[in-house]
């Protein structure tokens, strides 16, 4: 089943058309079409195993790292087909950053974690530039005040919430256009979660943000657009307020009201 809903006339940063994903013979995603805009935070919700992560990973081609995964359909970033042959995947991932469910800082210093992307992409001409990028990224991620005196400490020595903000700082250090977040708060306590949600609010508008979440409240709090996935299809996509107060589909309603999932 393909469902595609026209939204307000903003330019789509990412537009996906009829995206299907297979793991070997098993189909995990069936013809998903969606437009994602920089103006909004977009939330993906749906029961476990419905394909949210799978779809998210098609957007920066992280599925390429899974040998059995195969993607069909078309995904355009600023109108450019990211699955066309000759596409520079490395460049794509610099433009479409990702934050994972479990914080995964590198076993390096806090400074080196944030400097990692700028270094490999050659964004800083000299040490002063790099210092500035690191500081700006940490500030945007709301971590600067907590770590400014211990930049040389290992990133893995931070608390879970701090680690996740470090990963966000790491992702925004290369100045991406899109940030994909796969359940970024699922390993965090309510206070750290609130901190990340606040951060998403601050980053909104500067980057196109897509967040996968299992928490309905979180989706309602941080997002303006919500897509509901079920059994490998996208059932409904619309304004977050509409999805939560006035869903068009029966399945969405059942899920929102907690009847299954």
């Amino acid at each position: 089943m393909t469902t595609f809903h026209e939204l307000d006339p903003v330019d789509a940063k990412i537009s996906a058309r009829d995206v299907s994903v297979f793991y070997g013979d098993k189909q995990a995603l069936d013809r998903v079409s969606i437009d994602i805009a920089t103006e909004y935070v977009t939330a993906f919700i749906g029961p476990s195993g419905c394909g949210k992560s799978t779809f998210l990973r098609t957007l920066n081609r992280m599925n390429d790292t899974i040998a059995s995964a195969r993607v069909e359909g078309e995904i355009r970033l600023d109108g450019e087909d990211i699955y066309r042959s000759g596409m520079d995947v490395v460049q794509l991932r610099a433009r479409v950053g990702m934050v994972f469910q479990k914080p995964n800082p590198f076993p390096k210093s806090i400074y080196e974690n944030v400097a990692y992307g700028p270094r490999i992409h050659g964004l800083a001409g000299n040490k002063a530039d790099l210092d500035a990028i690191v500081e700006r990224s940490l500030r945007r991620a709301g971590l600067w005040d907590e770590v400014k005196d211990r930049l040389a400490d290992s990133g893995t020595a931070l608390s879970g919430g701090q680690q996740q903000r470090l990963c966000i700082a790491r992702a925004i250090a290369v100045d991406p256009e899109v940030i994909l977040m796969d359940e970024p708060c699922s390993a965090l306590d309510p206070i750290a979660t609130a901190r990340i949600e606040e951060l998403i609010g601050e980053l909104k508008g500067r980057y196109a943000i897509v967040i996968v979440t299992h928490s309905m409240q979180q989706a309602a709090r941080v997002s303006q657009r919500t897509a509901f996935f079920h059994l490998g299809t996208m059932v409904e996509y619309g304004k977050t307020s509409d999805i939560f107060t006035n869903p068009r589909e029966e399945r969405t309603k059942d899920y929102i009201t907690g009847r299954y999932g």
Partner: protein, 461 residues
């Protein structure tokens, strides 16, 4: 005193005990069908068999060793032994011959004195053999009877057998450990004897190595025992040349196998690489001596290095490096594979290429494991004997020229022990001192490596 006959007797006793005990245990169930015995008949049977067999068997083994000394003592107390030379090789030869005659292993005596000693030997052997067999049998019967009398329906045979089995397993694992201690003790003993001739300082730091097993021992003896050139040769071949080969190749193949190779290819290549570790080192030795060394010499001569010899440190080191590639690569492989997938994904999602991910994230994260692998490989390389015996040469030289022949600690151990020197000559004893140094160095390397690996494991668990 051969332990074969007593051990067979013990075995028979055990079997009898097993059968009798099982028959007895079966009657428990019949006599009182209402109460279930604590253990199955098989456990009663094993309990009795083990009690009968174990102590008696152990005694038989110990006695077979201890009785040798007793036999010898009683033979030497015999009047016929008074004519024996005081010590040395002849005395031992006569005694061995008399013994062979007495046990029927030899027909004719080469030495007249040997024949005179035969009756004494026969008597002693008969006496102590008899004592041994009798004592073994008594012990076996006593153990079996004691166990048999304890059999009751409520007897906890199952628990007891479990305890005995645990003891056996413990004993088995102690054998390896005790053997290590035995090795150290014997090495230590001989090493101290060596240091009576040569001062440890001169041995460790002297630069002149030319032991002569035939030379008379005098105050100047120590001057020929400066082992520094050997240590240098060992480290130069095993820790420098071999590692220059093994570290890059091992690391690169580990990276290829973990990060680039398809699973199908990995399934083939990894075991093949590990087969390298199973090739007998003497085969590598041939390869080094017959193929690599001449090729290197010719190549060196061709580019004008006149000192190149047909035995060279380079040949031995290169081949040794190839030999230890699997040690480096399998440890590196394990520790790279142990870096969480999330690290890799995190780096790739930042837009890093695969190679950047490997170089900047995976290898640094796996470094402790890789270092540990290298240390194990070094300890393996410096203890390696066959390749250097066949390809490195015998000349003790303090040189950095890899085309010259060089000698190593292991080579000299072999040379000193297979030389003509008598067993208490410093030349022979030096082999033990060298062995001791080698043992301590490899022990330290392994110890550090294991500590590093353990810390590394904890970091990710």
């Amino acid at each position: 005193m051969s332990p074969v006959i007593p051990l067979l007797l013990v075995l028979a006793l055990g079997v009898v005990g097993w059968l009798v005990a099982r028959a007895r245990a079966r009657t428990f169930r019949r006599s009182d069908p209402a109460r279930r015995p604590h253990s199955l008949p098989g456990y009663h049977a094993w309990f009795v068999a083990l009690c009968a067999g174990l102590p008696a068997g152990l005694f038989a083994l110990v006695w077979s060793g201890a009785s040798q000394g007793l036999v010898m003592a009683s033979v030497l107390a015999d009047p016929a032994a008074r004519d024996l030379p005081a010590f040395g090789i002849t005395r031992d030869a006569i005694l061995a011959e008399a013994r062979a005659l007495a046990t029927g292993q030899a027909e004719a005596a080469f030495h007249p004195l040997a024949r005179a000693l035969v009756p004494a030997f026969e008597h002693a052997l008969r006496l102590y053999g008899g004592v041994g067999v009798t004592a073994t049998l008594v012990l076996g019967f006593a153990g079996g009877a004691w166990a048999f009398l304890r059999l009751r329906p409520e007897f906890t045979a199952r628990t007891q057998v479990e305890r005995i089995v645990m003891g056996l397993l413990l004993g088995a694992s102690l054998v390896a450990i005790l053997t290590t201690f035995g090795i150290v003790a014997s090495l230590l003993f001989e090493t101290f004897r060596f240091f009576e001739f040569v001062s440890p300082l001169r041995f460790l730091f002297g630069t002149h190595w030319a032991p002569d097993p035939m030379a008379a021992v005098g105050p100047a003896t120590g001057e020929a025992y400066g082992a520094l050139p050997l240590f240098w040769g060992t480290l130069y071949i095993g820790a420098v040349i071999a590692m220059l080969v093994a570290i890059p190749l091992g690391l690169m193949s580990a990276i290829y196998l973990t990060q680039y190779a398809s699973p199908a290819l990995r399934r083939w290549v990894k075991p093949m690489l590990e087969i390298l570790a199973g090739v007998p080192t003497v085969v590598y030795g041939y390869f080094a001596a017959l193929t690599v060394a001449p090729a290197i010499r010719d190549a060196a001569k061709a580019i004008g290095i006149a000192s190149a010899s047909s035995e060279s440190a380079l040949a031995a080191g290169l081949v040794m490096g190839i030999m230890i590639i699997p040690f480096v690569s399998s440890m590196a492989d394990d520790s790279i594979a142990a870096v969480p997938q999330a690290m890799r994904d995190g780096s790739l999602a930042m837009g890093a290429t695969r190679y950047e991910t490997i170089r900047r994230v995976l290898v640094p994260a796996a470094l402790p494991g890789i270092v540990a692998g290298v240390m194990l490989a070094v300890s393996r390389a410096i203890g390696e004997t066959m390749i250097v015996v066949m390809a490195a040469g015998a000349t003790a030289r303090l040189t950095a020229n890899p085309f010259e022949s060089m000698t190593t600690v292991t080579f000299q151990i072999v040379a000193m022990l297979t030389g003509e020197g008598s067993f208490d000559h410093p030349a022979t004893l030096s082999a033990f001192a060298l062995g001791m140094v080698l043992f301590l160095v490899t022990l330290a390397l392994n110890f550090i490596a294991l500590r590093v690996v353990k810390r590394f494991r904890e970091a990710y668990d």
